[in-house]
Symmetry: C2
């Protein structure tokens, strides 16, 4: 096992090597004119200042929790928490730093050709993507190696399991703050800037006269890039951890290490196939940017599939495996991996259908814009709600297939395989904010119109890939959360069955989580309420932040009338500052909601109806969060993407094109879609998992303390 783990670590480290090499390549490129570098510098400063403040704030919460974990679960477990938190933060920080430097170089490369622009933008996305996947894999694998290979702990010892869970908790905690804080910042800037700039003052997006324009570009980096990176890091790490915990409980002693090694091995080989895939992203003869993207993705998928089969036999051999009451072969596990890849592919196709300009839903929203703002929003909400049904069916089919192939572990392996592609998926996503920024810089630096056309073409693809990866993220988060829930029930069963060792669990007995119990139904309802409340709070926060930006911009226009004539320079820093304060202030309470809710439910119900009812209600709450969270998140991210592209579709010249009444209505829809798709929707992902992982941690604390 030690050797295999080291191999995993070496392969994982390749992602770091790829990141360093590619980052050097990108940095060596021409950073454009002084004006462009000035703008990029301003964006960079704003983004760094924001992240510094965000991390300081999260740091305070983190230190409190670290001390709490040291006191309750001991030092090794707390170190796990620290690793998860620091690496999650690092993923976001690196993503932001790459992106703020790549934006200006993408703008400059776009002056040469579309292919050159695509190359820089995609490479910078790939650096972030592979570092996210690589760091998550390495974090889990290295700490597991230290605990098991060096400190000599048993892989299924409570310390190891608790440390892994704590690592996941650390990652989730940072991720929810980063997603939410970054999301509030970016959409506050975007909505506020658009409303006062595009709608009131009638100046184009990214016009240097708009005092919110630098803030808008800062937002792309701290929200869409750093926030997304932290989110995917978390989903990856938590899924790995959940699969390993499940394996530790389910597998018999002699197979245990294999069951725990396998997810890490999948992650490791997929780092290699992801790196290989990135080299296939090249603009084809027909100039289809989307085609280039998908080619890289498909190559990674096919290569992973090819490698997965021998890998599985290498790990498990050809005998029958028995784990958690299910018997299966290595081939069944391979098929679970195939299920994971199939789910990924199908979700991408469905998301593209609902958010692409070539299909009915987006065109229907565009059509509804002709009759006004109201019908645009109504139709957009309709699409947003309807778009949840097919992804739900895909997840249902995926779970049923993988469960029938290899039990709960089969589901876990399907999700692990799905997430093993995170490197290349994040690459597609991180590409978006870079091109968005590049366009902004081109506009502000007054580069020729053709450059803006090139960056706009890249940006449009970025919108679709962003929507697609969000579908992927929430799909995998939903499945990952189900694995976490399985870990919760298995863990609980284990503690209850060994109540002599874990005295707190005496008298808990066998738990059924039966829907006939009112505590279970109430837990479901309570859990179901959380994503709605959380989503509502996130929307409120963006609305408030945007209003403060609108007021600031109006004030600047009023105080310095020269801004609109180009004589006065707007104070960009003030908008950045206002948003930084607003985002940090607004992210705290919603982020703590999923951390505290499991405690409230468990201790509340346990006080009324005993421990057993408390654990059942808590378990039901977790499922409640997963079920409504999935629908809320999918409807928000897909709906937001559809609104965005309906606007783009009109701008392409349909229904009167830019400046028409239909376009104005479509801008309203896009504005509503912004916090839907970039703040509330994606933040529900870490929110779902954080409730589940806090529940696991609570079990560990009760077992340890009782």
């Amino acid at each position: 096992m030690t050797f295999s783990l080291l191999l995993v670590i070496v392969l994982g480290a390749l992602s770091i090597a790829y990141g360093v090499v590619t980052a050097r390549q990108v940095m060596a490129l021409d950073a454009g004119s002084t004006r462009m570098q000035e703008i990029s510098q301003a964006v960079q400063e704003g983004a760094s200042a924001y992240l510094r403040r965000q991390y300081t704030t999260i740091g305070i919460v983190g230190v409190v929790l670290f001390v709490l974990i040291v006191l309750t679960l001991g030092f090794p477990v707390a170190i796990g928490f620290l690793i998860g938190a620091v690496l999650s933060g690092a993923a976001g920080f690196i993503g932001m730093n790459v992106s703020v430097r790549a934006n200006v170089r993408t703008a400059q490369a776009s002056t040469q050709s579309l292919a050159a622009g695509l190359d820089v933008a995609f490479k910078s996305g790939a650096i972030t993507g592979l570092l996210v996947a690589g760091l998550a894999l390495l974090g889990v694998a290295v700490y597991f190696f230290i605990l098991v290979g060096i400190a000599g702990l048993a892989p299924n010892s409570r310390t190891v399991i608790d440390a892994l869970v704590a690592l996941g908790f650390g990652a989730s905690l940072i991720s929810i703050f980063a997603r939410l804080g970054g999301g509030i910042f970016t959409k506050g800037a975007d909505v506020g800037g658009d409303m006062v700039g595009k709608v009131e003052a009638g100046i184009p997006e990214d016009d240097p006269r708009n005092p919110a324009t630098i803030a808008d570009n800062v937002g792309d980096n701290v929200g869409d890039c750093a926030g997304m990176a932290a989110d995917l890091f978390e989903t990856y790490a938590v899924t790995m951890v959940a699969t390993m915990v499940l394996a530790a409980i389910a597998f018999p002693a002699d197979m245990l290490h294999l069951g725990m090694l396998y997810p890490l091995a999948i992650g490791a080989v997929c780092v290699v196939t992801s790196i290989a895939g990135t080299y296939f992203v090249k603009l084809p003869a027909n100039n289809s940017i989307m085609g280039a993207m998908y080619r890289g993705f498909i190559v990674t998928g096919v290569l992973s599939l090819i490698v997965l089969l021998p890998l599985t036999y290498l790990v498990f051999g050809s005998g029958t495996i028995t784990a958690g009451g299910a018997s299966f072969s290595a081939f069944s596990l391979f098929l679970c991996g195939v299920v994971g890849l199939a789910v990924t592919g199908l979700i991408i196709v469905v998301t593209e259908y609902y958010t692409g300009t070539d299909y009915r839903p987006v065109q229907a929203i565009a059509e509804s814009s002709v009759t006004g703002h109201g019908t645009n929003v109504i139709r957009g909400l309709a699409v947003s709600m309807e778009s949840t049904a097919v992804p739900a069916l895909i997840i249902i089919a995926g779970v049923l297939c993988s469960y029938n192939l290899a039990g709960l572990y089969g589901i876990a392996i399907a999700v692990t395989t799905m997430l093993a592609l995170a490197g290349v998926v994040v690459a597609l996503d991180a590409f978006g904010p870079v091109t968005d920024n590049a366009g902004g810089i081109a506009e502000m630096a007054g580069l020729p119109k053709e450059i803006r056309v090139t960056t706009d073409a890249l940006d449009a693809v970025g919108n679709t890939t962003k929507a697609v990866t969000k579908g992927y993220a929430i799909g995998s988060a939903g499945l990952g959360a189900l694995v976490l829930f399985a870990a919760y029930t298995q863990d609980l069963t284990y503690f209850a069955a060994n109540a002599t060792t874990f005295p707190y669990f005496q008298g808990v007995g066998t738990l059924t989580f039966s829907l006939s119990s009112p505590y279970v139904v109430m837990g479901l309802l309570f859990g179901g309420a959380l994503p709605f409340l959380f989503g509502g709070m996130a929307m409120t926060a963006v609305g408030r932040a945007a209003m403060s930006v609108v007021e600031e911009v109006r004030k600047q226009f009023r105080e310095k009338p020269g801004i609109m004539e180009g004589r006065d320079r707007p104070d960009y820093g003030r908008a950045v500052d206002i948003l930084t304060k607003a985002a940090i202030r607004e992210m705290i309470i919603p982020s703590l909601l999923p951390v505290l809710s499991p405690l409230v439910v468990y201790f509340g119900v346990a006080a009324i109806a005993g421990k057993a009812a408390g654990f059942e209600a808590l378990g039901a709450m977790l499922i409640g969060v997963i079920v409504t969270g999935f629908f809320v998140a999918v409807s928000m991210t897909t709906g937001g993407g559809a609104w965005d592209n309906a606007k783009k579709y009109i701008e392409e010249g349909h229904h009167g094109g830019k400046g028409s009444e239909a376009h104005k209505a479509a801008v309203t829809g896009d504005t509503v879609g912004d916090p839907y798709k970039d703040t509330a929707g994606p933040a529900v992902n870490p929110m779902i998992k954080i409730t589940n992982i806090v529940a696991l941690l609570l079990l560990a604390m009760l077992a340890h303390g009782g």
Copy 2:
């Protein structure tokens, strides 16, 4: 038992007597000028034509199902279905007929005084309200009396239980069509008419030059009045039925008849207290219309509470009652009733907080309108999502209290008591469309401005009471559905335990509905998807209907330029006709979704994983529908009400008042809120229950056929 049942029927019949007497009083009033009567006549014709077509269409579905039930469950059960369907249709039909005649009389009475206008409008609402509650009670009680008292069947015989369930199914089926069809009609007219009239042509609401104005008034009657009446009829009947079925299964043989009689007795005495309450609705000295309304409601509540205590002892005596594993006293059951009333009161308070112009949420939406359409919608969506949390906590508290007092039967009694007040609650709601119409008639008939001020004051209160009763309806529907789910599990346990008598259930064994089973989790996800899909389809339907109205109105303005100058008369009939066709066409598929889904889930899963898994997945699906359905419905109805009143708040003169930019943004929010609160949101109510009742019926068919 026979005597007690007859007493229930006599008390229930009092509601009919009240209806007839009060209807005569209202009809005897002055119907105003010829012009007013003409307008009222046009509305009446449109509404009758629509309902005729709607019922013909539903009739076809109904006949098919009737035959199917005769063939599978026999004639007495099919008669139950017929009674439920016909009475549900009758409730809607009567509601509409009262309302279309009371509107003109309210307008005329408003020429005298506010008190006179209030009196007519409220009385007409009370007729509908008491007939809804009375017919539902009588339908269940009379058929139960025929089966048990006359035909001599045992109260817990399968025929009686199946007949009751079928009665509930008939009511639900009509109700979902009526809610959805009426909702699409009314909001298609409202949204379409407003967008082209208010926004494009700049003419006020209800202006006779708007060709959609009669359709708008027809919509109030077929949607807000007939649809709502059918919905509440259904909730009432289904809750009664579910409570009786639960009692039939849970109570020991010697107490059985008491357990089944008790809910009917509660309903009967509350008919009397509701009638008493209506006489307390009188305009107080301070002219507070809302105060007058609440006085009537509070009197009914307090009287019911006073009567409930002796009634409960009269039925159950002072001994200990044992049912379904729980032991409790008559006093505990009385306390469950108190819980039901408390839940009603709290939900009303919370809904008023979220939708009233005096509180933060509505004012925040109004404030957000200042910065534009986008921020208005964002803030409205935020309020809509946040508003679900507290009602969920109220329901949770209500269930936990009543369960701890008297087990599952306790929950059922809490809901029954809640619904026993339906008569007076519907009165408050049906008052709304009457005053809305009265205002329209005053406007179109060119009555002096003061009259419109009076009807507007009444209408504003109508908006609040409508939101409040929707909160009540969805709260009680959620609780009622939980009782249905309990009936499903109890029924299933009974069949499985008696598999020799019911051979289909051989080998099903003990079902736990454990959340650890993937079939249960998948069932939850599948069920969770339904309200989203259904809501999305309803929103799409309204959007499409509104667009066709906009196009029709634009066409009329184009073809007859004289309309705007008042020289040409618009063709009101064409708009009514277009909407009728659209509403009927669009209601079919979404309405069949909840009818067919239980069958698909059960037979689908049973084919893959056996009957036991099928029943578990189906049960989980029911809970999934309840959980997400509750949140979707609450967020839509409350959010819509908040948007509506934010517009009203601005019209009162805040943020620039009528005609300001903020007002335009608020109109957009109101437009979006319209299908939210009057189509999709309320239609989720019957949708939740129909899935549950179809599942119960499926069990009956399998037991009968197997």
